[in-house]
């Protein structure tokens, strides 16, 4: 009874389906901050010691492991629900107009599905390159004095990948797509939940734009810096 109501609300009601997009989006927004702060350790000039120990912690702490599986589910939910909504919306619109409108709209809002698709494909590459290689134990193993266990050298995998300008370009462009997706997505999540008020709307919009720029630029500069360190 409760389950049926919840499933109906979250996957059938137009507003409920958007609530799923909003809440999963906000969870991913929070995750990106943690991920970026972790990744910035790649820039430490210590041969990767700090980053590798951090990666070991993140992949061995049971609480974080649990959250990471929740994260994978959230990404899938956000992507699949987004695709389902885009398909339903396209059907509801029917054909488009002969003349396209130049009315002012929320920037990039019409391209959320396209940007999302780019990000989903990017995630496939990203997970294959680093997550899967680590899971399969394909990364070299290093020991650091002061730690009692050897750790996988994820830093080496990352540094190696970004000697290739092709990957640097793909990562930087994908992060541009991420920034544009968040530019609309951040404030849109609040609007969908009904969290709006004339007093705070300006703040929400501003924080969203600053956040989007910070995350996109933050992630994009890492491969660029790593590339130029090696040339």
């Amino acid at each position: 009874m409760l389950m049926k109501w919840l499933v109906d609300f979250l996957f059938r009601s137009s507003i409920g389906r958007k609530v799923v997009m909003s809440l999963s989006g906000l969870f991913l927004i929070a995750f990106l901050v943690v991920h970026l702060l972790g990744n910035l350790q790649l820039l430490a000039s210590d041969g990767g010691r700090q980053f590798n120990l951090y990666a070991y912690f993140m992949t061995h702490n049971p609480l974080i492991k649990t959250v990471s599986y929740l994260l994978y589910l959230t990404i899938l939910l956000h992507a699949l629900q987004g695709i389902a909504l885009a398909r339903a919306n396209r059907k509801a619109k029917g054909k488009s107009y002969a003349v396209s409108s130049n009315a002012p709209v929320s920037a990039f809002s019409k391209y959320m599905i396209h940007l999302g698709m780019i990000l989903f494909i990017f995630l496939g590459l990203h997970m294959y390159q680093f997550w899967l290689q680590m899971k399969m134990g394909n990364a070299p193993v290093v020991s650091y004095p002061g730690t009692d266990h050897p750790v996988q050298d994820l830093n080496a995998l990352v540094v190696e990948a970004f000697t290739n300008p092709f990957y640097v370009a793909i990562y930087a462009l994908s992060m541009l797509a991420l920034g544009l997706h968040l530019w609309h997505g951040f404030q849109s999540a609040f609007q969908t939940l009904g969290l709006n008020h004339p007093k705070y709307n300006g703040l929400i919009h501003m924080v969203g734009k600053v956040y989007a720029a910070f995350v996109a630029v933050g992630f994009a500069v890492i491969p660029v810096i790593l590339f130029f360190r090696q040339v």
Partner: protein
């Protein structure tokens, strides 16, 4: 002024349609609809089928006129219905493309006329207040805070024309439903039935095949009554709250 009109012609709901090009001489004081009247007189004189379009009050308050002019519902001007759009906003020699509102829930009946009865069914689902007939109660007998009444009146300006649906890339009716829910639910007389109203109107909206809001805000830009998307946030909030509370 002489204009070239590219108008969508469609015989009925089942037939396919296409654009036809017409030349019409108008003057700048005419409204867009009066310019179409001139065209239709011309077509009738030539023993051709006149262009069908919806219109009624021609004062910008009934919500009957529709059509998409150069890609924009009700034309290029903000806060203006098609009937209040005057030809002085166009230039001599302009090519103007005129299409019907586009959404699956608004099927074309003929030419520029679409079936907007989905809106009527949404209203029938809950867009009203139940009152006993008889002597009307004095409106000023119930005190209402100034800010609240302003919000309700702003939402009540909705004329139900459907430009929001026509403008939305998702064919969503959220701005219309949000305006009705805000207008009724903010006032004491409408508050009593608000929870059920929100659920029933949203359910009917979904059933009619309208799309899902993705906060593009094209509706707000095109609304001839400039209804704010903040009403959509209010509707979201109301539906989420009532969904989790109701039995």
């Amino acid at each position: 002024m002489e204009l070239q009109l590219k108008i969508w012609r469609q015989k009925n709901a089942d037939s396919g349609g296409g654009f036809e090009v017409y030349r019409v001489k108008a003057n700048e004081h005419m409204s867009f609809l009066e310019m179409l009247d001139v065209l239709n007189e011309q077509l009738i004189a030539e023993r051709k089928e006149p262009v069908a379009f919806d219109h009624d009050c021609r004062e910008g308050i009934c919500g009957a006129c529709s059509m998409v002019i150069n890609g924009r519902p009700h034309g290029p001007n903000q806060g203006t219905t098609t009937c209040q759009l005057h030809m002085r906003f166009f230039k001599d020699g302009d090519v103007i493309t005129v299409e019907p509102f586009q959404a699956r829930a608004f099927p074309v009946i003929k030419d520029l006329v679409v079936d907007r009865s989905a809106f009527d069914r949404i209203i029938q689902a809950g867009g009203y207040i139940s009152v006993n007939t008889g002597q009307p109660v004095d409106g000023n007998a119930i005190p209402i805070e100034r800010d609240t009444s302003s919000l309700a009146f702003d939402a009540a300006a909705c004329i139900g024309c459907g430009a929001c649906v026509a403008a939305c890339p998702n064919g969503s009716a959220m701005l219309f439903v949000a305006a009705k829910v805000s207008h009724l639910g903010l006032l004491p007389q409408g508050k009593i039935e608000q929870d059920g109203r929100v659920q029933k109107m949203v359910a009917q909206m979904d059933e009619e095949g309208f799309g899902n809001c993705s906060n593009v805000a094209a509706c707000e830009a095109e609304c001839p009554k400039q209804i704010s998307v903040s009403n959509i946030a209010r509707l979201n909030r109301a539906l989420i709250t009532v969904s989790f509370q109701s039995s």
